[in-house]
C-alpha cells in the first residue's frame, strides 16, 4: 500500500437527466436567514431586514421551529408605495422604533431580494441616519447585503460574519496587555451546543477567545421569569472591535477557504494569521483543530480531550463491523457535509452521494480531500434539490443504508425506506436540534453511537427474532 494516499479524482459523471429549470424541494434557504442568525449572535443586538414584512416573519418561524426559542427579527415592512418611492422613511421609522422598544446595542441590517432589486442605497441611507442628532446610547448599525437571488443561507451567514467584522474591527483599540493574547474563532453555521463546546475547548487551553457569532445562549437560553427583550449572551461588541489584535483567527469550513471571509479580511488588513480548517467533525478533522489550538496557545492538548479521543477510537473499534461498507447519503450545508463525510469515511461507512443546496464550487474537491482512502469515491453534487438527489439515487442504484442530514431529508428517507439521522440545520420535526454536538471527539462520539445504534435498530427490527444481544 502506498504510504502517500492520493486524493481520488472526484467523480462527476453527468447529471441523471437534462437539468431541471425549476427547483423541486429545495435543499437551501435564502441569504437573509443566515444574516439574521449571525446578528442574533452579537451581544445586545437585534436583526433587522430591510424589505417586506413576510420575509422577517417566515424566517422567524423557520428559525423558531429549529431552536424553539424566541427569535425577534424586525423589518422595515415595505408597502407598494415604499417600493415605488424608496424605503428610506420606513427604514428610519423602523430603526427608531426598534431602538425605542428594544434598546439594542447594535442593529444588524440585512437587505432582501426586494430592496436589492430596486437598488436601495443602504450605505447612503444609513450614513444619513447616523448623522441625525441622537443619543449616546444609540445602537451601532451594521449592514450586510444579502440578496436572496444569490447564494444560500450559508452565504448570507458567512457574508454577515465578514461584514460585521469588517465594520467593527478597529486596530489599536485594544489595551496592550491583551494584544496577541487571544484567538478569534469563526465556527461557521453550527449548533448552539457546538458553540458552547468551542468555548469550553478554548477555556481548557487557557486561551481567551472571541467566538463569532455566538448564539450559544441567545438561542438556547434558560427559562425566564421576566421576558428579556434581547436574550443574554452573544459576542460582546468590544470583542468584535478588538478582532485585529488577536494572535490568530481560526475559521471552520473547507469550502470557504477560497472566499473572502472574516479571517481572510483580518489577515489581509491587519496581518492576523488565519488558520482556515475544516469543520472539526470526526477524528481526523478534529485532530487538525486541536493541532491548531496547540500551536496558537503553545500548550499541549489537555488530557480531558486526549482521553475523549482515546475513548472515541476505542468506540470506533467496538463498532467497526456494524459500519463497514454501509452506504450513506449525506445531505447538508457544504462545510457540515464535508465534515460528516470525513467522519463517516474514517469509520468505514461509504458516503455514496454527498449533496448540498449550496454551490461554493469547492464542495467536490473538499469531499475528495477528506475521503482519500475510499474504495468507491463519493459522487458529489452541489447546488441540487431533493428531487434531483432522489433521481440520481434511483438512476445509479446507489441504495443507501441511511441518510444523514437535516430534517428536510425526512421525506426522501421515508421514500427510500431507510432511517434519517438528523444533524445540522434545520431540524423541524424533532426537539433539540440546537443541542446536537457535532464538533470534536465528543461530538463524533455522540454521532458514532447514534449511527451505530440506528443501524442496529434496523437490524433488530427487520429480523424475525429481534435478538436480545447485538
Amino acid at each position: 500500500m502506498s504510504s502517500q494516499p492520493r486524493a481520488p479524482k472526484s467523480r462527476s459523471p453527468k447529471a441523471p437527466r437534462p437539468n431541471w429549470v425549476s427547483t423541486r424541494n429545495p435543499c437551501k434557504a435564502c441569504a437573509p436567514l443566515g444574516a439574521a442568525l449571525v446578528m442574533r449572535g452579537i451581544e445586545g443586538a437585534l436583526p433587522f431586514l430591510h424589505g417586506s414584512q413576510g420575509c422577517a416573519t417566515y424566517m422567524r418561524r423557520y428559525l423558531i421551529s429549529h431552536f424553539r426559542e424566541p427569535m425577534d427579527i424586525a423589518t422595515s415592512g415595505f408597502s407598494e408605495a415604499t417600493t415605488i418611492f424608496g424605503g428610506e422613511a420606513n427604514l428610519r421609522q423602523g430603526l427608531d422604533n426598534v431602538t425605542s422598544q428594544y434598546h439594542p446595542s447594535l442593529i444588524g441590517i440585512a437587505t432582501t431580494c426586494l430592496t436589492e432589486t430596486i437598488g436601495e442605497d443602504m450605505h447612503g441611507m444609513l450614513h444619513e441616519y447616523r448623522a441625525l442628532p441622537g443619543e449616546e446610547s444609540d445602537p451601532l448599525l451594521v449592514h450586510v447585503s444579502t440578496p436572496s437571488y444569490s447564494g444560500t443561507h450559508i452565504d448570507g451567514f458567512n457574508d454577515s460574519v465578514r461584514a460585521v467584522v469588517e465594520q467593527l474591527a478597529q486596530a489599536g483599540e485594544t489595551p496592550s496587555a491583551y494584544l496577541n493574547t487571544f484567538v478569534n474563532v469563526f465556527p461557521g453555521m453550527v449548533s448552539s451546543e457546538d458553540l458552547r463546546w468551542v468555548k469550553e475547548v478554548c477555556a481548557d487551553f487557557g486561551l481567551p477567545a472571541t467566538l463569532f457569532p455566538d448564539y450559544s445562549e441567545t438561542l438556547d437560553g434558560p427559562s425566564m421569569e421576566i421576558y428579556k427583550k434581547i436574550p443574554e449572551g452573544g459576542t460582546p461588541l468590544a470583542a468584535l472591535r478588538a478582532t485585529p489584535s488577536a494572535k490568530a483567527s481560526i475559521e471552520f469550513g473547507r469550502t470557504i477557504r477560497h472566499k473572502r471571509t472574516a479571517a481572510s479580511f483580518l489577515q489581509e488588513r491587519f496581518e492576523v494569521p488565519a488558520k482556515r480548517i475544516g469543520m472539526p467533525i470526526g477524528i481526523n478533522e478534529s485532530d487538525i483543530f486541536f493541532a491548531a489550538m496547540e500551536k496558537i496557545s503553545g500548550r499541549k492538548t489537555p488530557e480531558k480531550y486526549t482521553r475523549e479521543r482515546g475513548r472515541l477510537v476505542d468506540a470506533y473499534v467496538d463498532g467497526h463491523k456494524y459500519l463497514f461498507g454501509k452506504r450513506a447519503l449525506v445531505i447538508g450545508d457544504e462545510d457540515m457535509a464535508v465534515g460528516l463525510a470525513s467522519f463517516l469515511a474514517e469509520t468505514g461507512v461509504l458516503p455514496v452521494l454527498c449533496a448540498s443546496g449550496g454551490k461554493s464550487g469547492a464542495f467536490a474537491r473538499s469531499i475528495a480531500e477528506v475521503t482519500t482512502h475510499l474504495r468507491e469515491p463519493a459522487i458529489v453534487r452541489e447546488g441540487v434539490d431533493f428531487m434531483t438527489i432522489a433521481e440520481e439515487l434511483a438512476l445509479k442504484e446507489l441504495k443507501p443504508d441511511f441518510v444523514i442530514g437535516s430534517s428536510k431529508a425526512a421525506k426522501l428517507a421515508r421514500e427510500l425506506g431507510v432511517p434519517l439521522i438528523r444533524v445540522g440545520f434545520p431540524i423541524h420535526d424533532r426537539i433539540g436540534g440546537q443541542r446536537i454536538l457535532h464538533l470534536g471527539y465528543r461530538g463524533a462520539q455522540q454521532l458514532f453511537d447514534l449511527v451505530v445504534n440506528t443501524l442496529l435498530e434496523v437490524k433488530q427490527d427487520s429480523n424475525l427474532i429481534g435478538y436480545s444481544y447485538l
Partner: protein
C-alpha cells in the same frame, strides 16, 4: 404600557377603561414593530395550499418556496402534489434579464412530469418589480398544456395578508364556474374556509353527510380542482374563516346568486349552531330532525369527558393571539365552556366589526390587541398571569420562555380541533399543557431556588 409603540397605542384596548371603544385595525404594520403577520404571499399560499391535485409554483428567489414547503397540516385523501415545493429559484441573471423564460420552462417541465389538474403561479416581491408578465406566461402555458394555469398576484409588499387572501380568491374564481353542475342536489353546499388540518374537513363532511347535505366542494381542505370548478352548482356557501373567504362567497353570490352563511366549527356551541343554521337554511324538517339527533349523539359522547376537563381547568386564565378574529370568537366561547377566562385576545387581521364583537364577548379588564408583537404579547402574559396561551408557532416560544402553557391553534397543528371530537381534543390539549408538572420547576413559579418541590 411602556412596551407599546406610540404608533400602536390605538391598536390596544382594555375593556372597561374610561375611554369609548376604539381600536385601530386593518393598517399596514408599523415599521420596526416586529409584527407577527406575514405578507400578501403568505395569505395566498395558505389559502390555496391544500388543493392537492394542483401544481403550486413559487415564482421568485428560493426563500418563499423554502419557508412554505409542507408548512400546513392540511391532509389529502388522494394526491399530494401540494406537499412538494416548486420554485423558479430566480438567480441574479434572471433578475437582470427577467424571469419569464424560466417560469415558462419550469411550468412546462413540471406540468409534464406531474400532470396536475391546474397550476397556481405565485408572484413574489421581485416579480412585481422586474416586470415579468406572469399573466401572459400563464395564458401561453394554459393553451399549450390544456389545463388552467392561474397567476396569483401575491407580491409580498402589495398590502397585507388579507390582500393575499383576496388574490387567492380571485384565482379560485377563475376555476369556479367552469365545471358541470348536472346532478347536484338542491340540498348542496360548498365548505369554504376549512383547510382539512389534521383531517378536520373529513369530520365536518361526515356531519353534513349524516344530515343529508351534499358537499359539492371544499375550498380548500382536501381540495380538488374539478370539485372547485363545479362550486357554482351548490345551493349554499358555508363560510368559515371569513377573513379569507368572504370575498369568494360574495363574488359567487353576485355571479351565480348563491347565498352564503358564516359559521364556525370550533367549540360545542358554535359547531352545533353552524349545523343548525345550515339545516334551517334548507327548510327541511327531516333534515333538522337528523341534525338534532346527530348533535345530541355527539354531545352525549363528549360531554362527560369535557366535564372532567372542566373540573381541572376551572378558573384558569387564557390568552389568545390568532390570525383571524373570527376564530377568536369561538375560542373565547370554547374556553368559557371549559370554565376558563380569556384575559387577552388579539388577532393579526381583525376588522372593526370583529373587535366590537370581541369586546362584547369578553369580560371586563380583557386586553384586546390588533397586529401585536412579541414585546407586547410577553408583557400581557406577564401582567395577566396567564396559564395558557393559544396561538401559532411564532407565539409558542414567547409562552414557553416564560414558563406558560401553550396550545397551537394555527395551520401547522397536527391535532384536529374542529367539530365535536375536536372540542374534546382542544380540551385535552389545553389540559395537558396547563396541568403539566413542569411549570412547578420554572423560575416563574418558584424562582431559581434549589429547594425541592414535588
Amino acid at each position: 404600557m411602556g412596551d407599546i409603540l406610540r404608533e400602536r397605542e390605538r391598536q390596544v384596548y382594555r375593556k372597561g377603561a374610561e375611554q369609548p371603544f376604539q381600536l385601530d385595525c386593518e393598517k399596514q404594520s408599523v415599521a420596526g414593530s416586529v409584527s407577527q403577520r406575514a405578507c400578501v404571499f403568505c395569505g395566498s399560499r395558505v389559502v390555496l395550499y391544500p388543493i392537492a391535485d394542483a401544481l403550486h409554483i413559487v415564482h421568485g428567489p428560493i426563500g418563499c418556496a423554502s419557508y412554505t414547503w409542507d408548512i400546513r397540516g392540511a391532509l389529502s385523501s388522494g394526491p399530494e402534489l401540494h406537499r412538494l415545493s416548486f420554485s423558479t429559484d430566480l438567480q441574479e441573471m434572471d433578475v437582470v434579464q427577467g424571469g419569464e423564460k424560466k417560469l415558462y420552462a419550469g411550468l412546462c417541465e413540471l406540468i409534464d412530469a406531474h400532470q396536475p389538474k391546474a397550476a397556481f403561479v405565485y408572484a413574489t416581491c421581485i416579480v412585481g418589480v422586474i416586470g415579468d408578465d406572469v399573466e401572459a406566461v400563464c395564458k401561453r402555458v394554459s393553451m399549450e398544456k390544456g389545463i388552467p394555469v392561474l397567476p396569483v398576484h401575491s407580491e409580498g409588499f402589495k398590502g397585507t395578508k388579507k390582500d393575499g387572501y383576496r388574490a387567492a380568491c380571485d384565482a379560485l374564481l377563475k376555476l369556479a364556474g367552469t365545471g358541470p353542475t348536472e346532478g347536484i342536489t338542491p340540498h348542496s353546499i360548498n365548505i369554504l374556509g376549512d383547510f382539512n388540518l389534521a383531517g378536520e374537513t373529513w369530520m365536518i363532511r361526515d356531519y353534513y353527510k349524516r344530515m343529508g347535505v351534499e358537499v359539492v366542494s371544499c375550498i380548500t381542505g382536501d381540495g380538488r380542482v374539478d370539485e372547485i370548478r363545479c362550486a357554482h352548482g351548490a345551493a349554499l356557501n358555508v363560510v368559515q374563516c371569513s377573513g379569507s373567504m368572504t370575498h369568494l362567497a360574495k363574488t359567487l353570490k353576485e355571479k351565480y346568486g348563491t347565498p352564503f352563511i358564516r359559521v364556525s366549527y370550533f367549540g360545542v356551541e358554535d359547531m352545533s349552531k353552524s349545523l343548525y343554521d345550515v339545516a334551517r337554511h334548507f327548510k327541511d324538517k327531516e333534515m333538522m330532525k337528523r341534525t338534532q339527533a346527530m348533535v345530541r349523539e355527539e354531545l352525549e359522547r363528549i360531554m362527560p369527558q369535557l366535564a372532567d376537563y372542566k373540573r381541572a381547568l376551572e378558573g384558569k386564565r387564557a390568552a389568545i393571539y390568532v390570525g383571524g378574529a373570527f376564530k377568536a370568537f369561538s375560542l373565547v366561547a370554547a374556553l368559557r365552556h371549559l370554565g376558563m377566562t380569556t384575559v387577552m385576545v388579539g388577532s393579526q387581521t381583525g376588522n372593526k366589526d370583529d373587535y366590537e364583537q370581541l369586546r362584547e364577548l369578553c369580560d371586563e379588564g380583557t386586553i384586546i390587541a390588533d397586529d401585536s408583537n412579541p414585546l407586547e404579547l410577553s408583557s400581557f402574559l406577564e401582567e395577566k398571569d396567564v396559564d395558557v396561551f393559544i396561538g401559532g408557532v411564532k407565539e409558542r416560544p414567547i409562552a414557553y420562555k416564560l414558563g406558560i402553557g401553550f396550545c397551537d391553534h394555527n395551520h401547522e397543528r397536527k391535532e384536529a380541533l374542529a367539530g365535536f371530537e375536536g372540542m374534546l381534543n382542544f380540551a385535552k390539549e389545553v389540559y395537558s399543557s396547563v396541568l403539566s408538572p413542569v411549570w412547578r420547576l420554572t423560575p416563574r413559579k418558584r424562582g431559581n431556588s434549589l429547594e425541592v418541590v414535588r
